[in-house]
């Protein structure tokens, strides 16, 4: 049976009407038409019954589905593949330099400060401070003015010098000035060879040892 020509414009609106999807003006027009048209009222009732059946069927189907770990499964499907390590590292560094710059600068500065303090201390343990030279060296020995002794440096073994004193038995030559005397008592050891007895008579030292 062909539908009433007046109904043809309302039939497409019946399903949205049932679902509540019409704007108020359209809804009022449909309600006015349904009040006057028995065919469309029947169609509306059929659509409501059909919709109820579909809803019940879907609910029954949904009850049969296991929704355990549903979110994880969905996320596992939509998460892209893990990027390579270098790429992740680059991203992390990029984000760090962009969003955490002050923290980063402070950390680097603190690390630099700690290194400045710690490295010299560690090196100090390795090589004691002041001992960069290989062996002990006596550079200069002198006796105080007016002393009746003279210093003698004995060094048969390099790095093991012995500074000894001997009596200045020799009489002062006549006319010797105090400056000359001071010079005679002062021994400059720096240019002398290391492996020999320096700065005086080794025999005099031997004499001192035979006390």
């Amino acid at each position: 049976m062909a539908p009433n020509p007046a109904c043809s414009s309302y039939i497409p609106l019946l399903s949205p009407f049932i679902d509540g999807e019409l704007v108020p003006s359209e809804r009022q027009n449909v309600e006015r038409h349904l009040a006057a048209c028995k065919d469309c009222t029947g169609r509306t009732a059929d659509l409501r019954a059909e919709s109820g059946l579909v809803r019940v069927g879907l609910e029954m189907a949904a009850d049969d589905v296991d929704f355990k770990d549903f979110a994880q499964k969905v996320m596992a499907r939509i998460t892209p593949e893990k990027p390579p390590l270098l790429e992740r590292l680059r991203l992390s560094l990029s984000e760090m330099f962009t969003y955490q710059r002050p923290v980063l600068i402070s950390s680097f500065a603190t690390a630099a400060a700690l290194a400045l303090v710690a490295v010299p201390l560690l090196l100090r343990d390795g090589l004691p401070m002041g001992y960069a030279a290989e062996k002990m060296i006596v550079e200069r020995v002198s006796a105080s003015e007016g002393a009746k002794v003279q210093p003698v440096v004995l060094e048969v073994q390099a790095g093991q010098p012995i500074i000894w004193m001997v009596d200045s038995a020799e009489p002062e030559p006549a006319g010797m000035s105090p400056e000359d005397e001071a010079q005679s008592e002062e021994l400059d050891m720096a240019p002398a060879p290391k492996d020999s007895a320096k700065g005086g008579d080794a025999g005099a030292g031997r004499k001192g040892g035979e006390l």
């Binding site: 402070s106 500065a109 048969v156």
Partner: protein, 168 residues
């Protein structure tokens, strides 16, 4: 975070670094020296402690024939520039040790034992012995050596290669 905050943090950190640098520099300018006071004489043939046998050997090589070597005192001197260290000897003399300079990791010391005064360069090996006057029938000798010389290192401790059990 803004750039201004980053700059502030950077300036603070730089201040911290600048504050710590002098502390590190100050911590470096300290030189340790071991000073031993040894009495050498010909009274007997005591060598106390036995480590002084090396000193005796060195003395003998240089023609100083003493038979008795006794360590009376050991002191570790921490030298800083401008702060002389003093060490009292048993014969009432006072030794004054000054850190003259510290250049390129090498320390120069000035040691005064009246009436002698010496300038020396510290080295990792050896020692400097300096006569410091008469005492108790012998001579007092001041031996200056590296501060770590008295501490035997683990690597330096020798072990026997084989363990031999005596047979009964």
């Amino acid at each position: 975070m803004t750039f201004a905050k980053g700059r502030t943090a950077g300036v603070r950190s730089l201040g911290l670094v600048l504050l710590l640098i002098p502390c590190a520099a100050l911590a470096q300018a300290k030189v340790d020296v071991q000073a031993e006071t040894v009495l050498v004489s010909n009274k007997d043939s005591t060598i106390d402690p036995p480590e002084l046998a090396k000193l005796k050997d060195n003395f003998l090589k240089n023609g100083l024939a003493f038979t008795s070597y006794r360590r009376l005192k050991t002191a570790k001197l921490s030298l800083e520039q401008g702060k002389p260290s003093k060490l009292d000897l048993p014969n009432r003399k006072t030794v004054t040790v000054r850190l003259d300079s510290l250049k390129d990791g090498t320390a120069r010391l000035q040691v005064e034992v009246p009436p002698l005064s010496q300038t020396m360069t510290l080295g990792r090996e050896g020692s400097v012995s300096m006569v410091a006057g008469d005492h108790d029938g012998g001579k007092l000798v001041l031996v200056l050596s590296p501060a770590s010389a008295g501490k035997p290192r683990r690597a330096a401790v020798s072990r026997p290669d084989t363990l031999v059990c005596p047979r009964n």
